[in-house]
């Protein structure tokens, strides 16, 4: 059995990702007119909570069926986005676009929650015994888990390579909201040109840096690959 404390560390990382995503969502002030909320943040928030619930045996979230529904909707949304990107940019969108990895993440989550076999069947959330002592959860169709693992690892590595070039952007964001990436929040569709970042604190500017989003996705990819391998 993989020690529970190791799984708890990964669960904590997922909760940090969820917290960062929640702060980013709140910083976007969705209750105001023209607020811009990123679907990747919504996705990271939900996945962070769901994965933490799977990893930490003491953490109870939603029933597996509910998570399947949630991530099926996300997968459908990102599938639609990938299709649109593909029509606009061709196959290149699968490599440089942001939606393809999120589609894979969402699909992997659907698979994990749908294919899990928990030794101590309880109808609760997540893997149940994965981090506990009642036995190991496994997945139906392990070959699919292997395929998902390979794709997740591939996207993680690709993200890291791309993050290398975004590093300067992160530094610029740390330096202040006037940095190259500190003012990237998109203005509202009406075109008022209002740039909400100008009034934001340095901390919020850091959270707005693309490196943060990509970093969250890398953490998520590694953890998801780990979970799939542990349940082979």
């Amino acid at each position: 059995m993989t020690p529970a404390w190791i799984l708890d560390i990964f669960a904590a990382i997922m909760l940090v990702v969820a917290a960062v995503s929640a702060v980013r969502l709140l910083a976007a002030r969705p209750w105001q007119r023209g607020a811009v909320v990123t679907d990747t943040d919504i996705s990271h928030l939900l996945m962070g909570i769901a994965m933490a619930g799977m990893l930490a045996s003491g953490l109870t979230t939603l029933p597996n069926g509910a998570w399947v529904a949630v991530f099926a909707v996300l997968a459908a949304w990102f599938g639609y986005r990938v299709l649109r990107d593909y029509q606009a940019s061709g196959a290149r969108s699968l490599a440089v676009g942001h939606c393809a990895p999120h589609l894979v993440h969402s699909a992997a989550m659907v698979y994990m929650f749908a294919a899990i076999t928990t030794p101590s069947a309880g109808g609760g959330s997540g893997m149940g015994g994965m981090g506990g002592t009642s036995g190991m959860s496994t997945l139906h169709v392990p070959t699919l888990a292997f395929v998902f693992t390979l794709i997740l690892v591939g996207y993680t590595i690709w993200d890291l390579d791309q993050l290398s070039s975004l590093r300067r952007g992160l530094v610029a964001a740390v330096a202040g909201p006037a940095g190259a990436f500190g003012s990237q929040v998109v203005s509202e569709p009406g075109g008022t040109g209002h740039d909400s970042t100008s009034a934001r604190s340095g901390a919020t500017a850091i959270l707005d840096a693309p490196g943060i989003v990509v970093g969250c996705r890398i953490a998520m990819g590694v953890t998801m690959a780990l979970m799939l391998v542990l349940m082979l």
């Binding site: 993989t2 990107d85 391998v229």
Partner: protein, 337 residues
């Protein structure tokens, strides 16, 4: 990244790909792509090392078992290492897994590329000795089918050949950019000729040698993979000598291929990739990953990756010589040592 724009009761969805800082991204060359694949394999290895099996006595016994048949000078440190791990199983295995995870992430992250590649060489050499018993090279257990000369030593070889440096002259293939054509070819020949030799050792050419090795990997695999392996095993049942000779001839051809004109070299490299794929699927059962308990992907994917590093570019397109302006690895702004 996609945005949801919430405006009162209106909700609009749109993308903002156009605002991504793509202009700052350095381009990928063939060597960088190969480095990323190596990084992915390290990352996968790290994840595999977190499996439940690695925290059991079974992992320790697997390590201790590699000492058998080796000279005392090799075997004694292996036994010492196995004992040490036995006493601190959870902590040490967690460290091992994390190191491999970090090696993968470090190679993928350009600023830490050199450090990670150098560390991967040291780690690979240590694991080759203390974890794989030198891949069975000295105890007669090595076979191209079971991962000889030790999958992990191929990681080290790849790290050296994909090192982000250039010798200032156009290289005939990617692997020659840092090490030079002569050294790179010699390393290739030594590796594949050694595999040919191992294919013909008495144990491996015994009538049921190849059959037994394939059949031994079936346990715990999914049905479709078991079926493939059963088919392969029955094909070579009692044909160990013939199968070994065919394999050895192919391996010698591959070894000689890099010394031949580019067109023939490409053909032998394709043969190398096919042989690596066949070995990985049929003899190594995809590294045994689906049966759980695998510590790495085994040698198949690494041999294929190595073959790609020797792929000669099209006529007139020698592997590029890096300059600070175009080499992402050497760019001072990336903060490498």
């Amino acid at each position: 990244m996609t945005n949801v724009a919430v405006a009162g009761s209106r909700t609009a969805w749109r993308g903002r790909l156009g605002t991504e800082p793509v202009a700052a991204r350095p381009s990928l060359d063939a060597r960088r792509v190969l480095q990323l694949v190596l990084a992915a394999i390290w990352l996968l290895d790290g994840v595999l090392q977190y499996q439940a099996f690695m925290f059991t006595k079974g992992f320790n016994q697997m390590l201790a078992g590699t000492a058998g048949g080796n000279p005392a000078v090799i075997a004694r440190p292996i036994s010492w290492d196995a004992t040490l791990i036995d006493h601190h199983m959870v902590l040490l295995n967690a460290i091992f897994a994390t190191i491999q995870l970090l090696l993968g992430l470090g190679i993928a992250f350009r600023p830490t590329l050199r450090v990670a590649l150098a560390a991967s060489v040291l780690w690979s050499l240590g694991v080759w000795w203390l974890g794989e018993g030198l891949g069975g090279v000295l105890n007669g257990g090595a076979s191209p089918l079971n991962g000889a000369p030790g999958a992990v030593i191929i990681y080290a070889l790849l790290a050296v050949l994909l090192w982000p440096a250039d010798r200032g002259v156009p290289a005939p293939f990617t692997a020659a950019r840092a090490a030079g054509g002569h050294v790179a070819r010699a390393l290739w020949a030594v590796l594949w000729l050694s595999l040919a030799y191992f294919a013909l050792t008495p144990d491996n050419r015994a009538p049921q040698g190849v059959n037994g090795m394939i059949a031994g990997m079936e346990s715990g695999e999914p049905a479709w993979l078991q079926d493939l392996q059963k088919g392969a095993a029955s094909l070579v049942a009692g044909q160990g000598l013939a199968a070994s000779i065919v394999l050895a001839v192919a391996l010698v051809l591959i070894a000689a291929g890099v010394y031949l004109p580019p067109r023939i070299a490409r053909a032998t490299l394709v043969l190398a990739i096919v042989v690596a794929a066949v070995i990985w699927v049929f003899a190594q059962a995809l590294g045994g990953i689906l049966a759980t308990g695998a510590t790495d992907v085994n040698s198949g994917p690494l041999l294929a990756l190595l073959a790609l590093a020797y792929w000669p570019p099209r006529a007139g397109l020698a592997a590029p010589v890096a300059t600070p302006a175009v080499s992402e690895e050497l760019a001072p702004s990336e903060g490498e040592a």
